[in-house]
Amino acid sequence: MENPYVPFLMKIEEIITETEDEKIKTFVLSFAREEDKERFAYIPGQFAEISVFGKGEAPFGMASTPTVPERLEFSVSKIGVVTGALHNMEKGDTVGVRGPLGNGYCLEAFRGRNLLLVGGGFGFSTLRSLTNYILHERNRKTFGDLTVVYGARRPGLLLYRRDLEAWGQRTDLRLHLTVDQKEEGDEWQGRVGLVPNVIRSLAPGPGNTVAVVCGPPAMMRFTLPVLRDLGFGDENILLSLEKRMKCGIGKCGRCNVGSKYVCSDGPVFSQAELARL
C-alpha cells in the first residue's frame, strides 16, 4: 500500500510569469524519478497538493494536459504562506507534489458531446488542461463542438497568452475572450463584459452539450441561472468547487459541502448533485 501523504519530488524546469501584476506564475515541473511519471497518471479536473518543504502544502488544479505527461504545470497565485514561498523559488529548485487527487472530469461521459467551457480568473487553469486535452490530435475527433468562454478582470490578467493565440488560429474551437473592464491605453480589441452576460449574448444551444464551469464563486453563481435560462439541465452543468483542503483524501474533515468532501467526492460536481446536498 502506498503512503498517500508522501509527495513525489519534482524539479522546477521553468517559471512563467502569467500576468502583468506578476501575481500569477506557472510552474513547469519534471519528476525527479522517471518511474513516478507513470504513478502520477491524471485526468483534467484533478488536483494535487504542492509542498514547499518547511512551509507546508497547498492544493492546485493541474494546468497541464496528461497528453504531455512529462511536463506537469501548476499556476499559482501569490496569496498565502505556501504560494508566497513558491513565488520566491527558482528554476532547479525541488518541490513536492502529492496526487493526483479528486475525481476530475468524467471524460468518458464527454465523448461525442459538445462542450461549452466557461472559465474566469485563476480557475481557468483547470479548463486549459481540459481544452488542451481535447485538442490533442488523438482526442479531438472523439468530442463534438468545443466552445471556450474565458474572462479576466483586465486584459493583462488573462493567463496562458501563448495558448490563447494558438487556439485563436484553430477552426475546431470557438474561443471567446472577455474582460470585465478596459482601461485607457489598453490595446484590447476584444469583448468587454462579464462572463455570464457574454454567455447570454452568445446563447449557446443546450443540445447534446455539457457546460463545464470553473471560476470565482461569484462568476459561477451568476453563470448558473444564465445556463438554466438557455435550457441547460442541472445534470449537464458541471462545476469545480474550491475549498481549503489539507489531506486531499477525505479524512481531515475540512472541505465538506453537505455530506460530501470536495477533495475526494469532487472537486467536480454536477449542479444536479449539488442541489441534492
Binding site: I79, G80, R244, K251, C252
Partner: protein, 344 residues
C-alpha cells in the same frame, strides 16, 4: 452472554496478567496523573487505576496521536530528501477502555480505513487489541444508550471485562479476543457468574435515560434548521474546541511543517472545526465565518453527514463534551431542541 464466550479473571491475578501483557505489548490503561484520570501508556502493572468513571482523554490518542510525524526531510540548496519511517505493526493493548471509547474506534476505523487507508492509523490499529471495561456505574453525563451503545456494550472491544467484585467476567467479542481467552490466567465461568454479569449490565442500563436520540435527529436534519435556532443554540459557545479534542470520534486534523534551518518534519496534528482558521482560505474568504456555522458543522457532521456517508453516528454518548464544556453547553439539550424544532 454465551457461556463459551465468557471466562473469569480473579482480581488477585490481574497484576500478574498485566505484567505478562507488558512483556509483549505496549499497554495503554487508565492511570492517575495528579488529579486527572488519563488513558496513557504504562510501564508497570501497578500504575493502572481501575476506578469508576472514564478517563479525561479518549482512546483515540493511542491510534491517532495529537501530534504525529508523517515524514522527516532535509532541504538544502534546492535539493530535498524525504525520509519516511518504515512501516511496522506495533503490538499494543488498550486496557480498561470504556464501551463508549471502544465504540468510537469503529468510526475511526471507517474514516481512516476504507478505500484510501491511512497508513499511520491502520498500522497501529492492526496490532491493537481493545480490552473494554463495562460501566457498572454510568455517570449522569453519560448517554451511550441514547446513541445505540450501552454501558456493557462490547462493540469495538476484543474482550469486555465486567467487574463482579472480587473477579471479572471476561467476554470475548472478536475472533482475536476469543483466541486470547484460551490461554493465561482465565478460569471457566459458572452459571451464577454469568447471571451476575447479566444483572450488572441490566442495572447499569436501567440507571440511564433510555430515549434514543440518533434516528429521529437524523431525519429531522434532512430538513433545514432555522438559522435563528442555530444562532440561539450557539450564543454561549466560546469556540474553544475542547469538545472536539476530547471526543472519541472527532478526527479532523491539520498537516503542517515544523522546520529548523535545513531539516524539518511534516506532522499531522489534531484540528477542530470550532476554530476560526479551520476553513478560512488564504484569500481571507471563510465559508464558515462565525461560531454559528462552525457549531452547525459539528452537529451536522456527527448526526447527518456521517450517518449518510458511513452509516454511523459520530457520537457515542460518552458525555465528555457535556462535562468539560466551559459554558455548560449540553449537547443532549442542543439535540433535543433541534429535534423538536419546526421545519423552516
Amino acid at each position: 452472554m454465551i457461556r463459551e464466550e465468557v471466562r473469569i479473571l480473579r482480581k488477585e491475578r490481574l497484576e500478574a496478567f498485566l505484567r505478562d501483557l507488558l512483556r509483549d505489548y505496549r499497554v495503554f490503561a487508565p492511570v492517575r496523573k495528579g488529579e486527572l484520570l488519563l488513558l496513557d501508556r504504562i510501564d508497570s502493572a501497578t500504575d493502572v487505576a481501575l476506578v469508576d468513571g472514564k478517563t479525561k482523554n479518549s482512546a483515540k490518542e493511542a491510534l491517532f496521536p495529537q501530534r504525529e510525524r508523517i515524514f522527516a526531510y532535509r532541504a538544502e540548496e534546492g535539493k530535498v530528501e524525504v525520509q519516511v519511517a518504515p512501516r511496522t505493526e506495533e503490538k499494543q493493548i488498550l486496557f480498561g477502555v470504556r464501551p463508549c471509547d471502544a465504540r468510537g474506534l469503529l468510526l475511526l476505523d471507517a474514516v481512516f480505513g476504507g478505500d484510501c487507508p491511512d497508513p499511520y492509523y491502520v498500522d497501529k490499529r492492526a496490532g491493537t487489541l481493545v480490552f473494554g471495561m463495562a460501566c457498572v456505574n454510568p455517570s449522569p453525563s453519560c448517554f451511550c444508550l441514547s446513541m445505540g451503545g450501552g454501558p456493557c456494550s462490547a462493540d469495538g472491544s476484543d474482550l469486555l471485562l465486567v467487574d463482579l467484585g472480587d473477579r471479572y467476567a471476561v467476554e470475548a467479542a472478536s475472533v482475536r479476543g476469543r483466541a486470547f481467552l484460551q490461554e493465561g490466567p482465565f478460569e471457566n465461568a459458572g452459571v451464577e457468574e454469568l447471571a451476575q454479569a447479566e444483572e450488572i449490565g441490566k442495572e447499569a442500563a436501567s440507571s440511564m435515560d433510555p430515549a434514543s436520540i440518533g434516528e429521529a435527529l437524523e431525519k429531522r436534519l434532512e430538513r433545514p434548521v432555522d438559522d435563528l435556532l442555530w444562532a440561539g443554540l450557539t450564543e454561549s459557545c466560546l469556540g474553544c474546541g475542547v469538545c472536539t479534542y476530547l471526543c472519541p470520534t472527532c478526527h479532523c486534523f491539520d498537516i503542517c511543517d515544523e522546520a529548523a534551518s535545513t531539516t524539518g518534519e511534516r506532522i499531522r496534528i489534531w484540528d477542530s472545526c470550532q476554530f476560526p482558521l479551520f476553513t478560512r482560505e488564504a484569500s481571507g474568504y471563510d465559508p464558515r465565518p462565525s461560531g454559528k456555522e462552525r457549531f452547525r458543522q459539528r452537529i451536522m457532521h456527527k448526526f447527518s453527514y456521517l450517518p449518510k456517508g458511513r452509516n454511523m453516528t459520530g457520537c457515542v454518548g460518552c458525555g465528555r463534551c457535556v462535562t468539560e464544556c466551559p459554558v455548560n453547553l449540553d449537547i443532549r439539550e442542543v439535540l433535543k431542541k433541534i429535534s423538536q424544532a419546526e421545519a423552516r
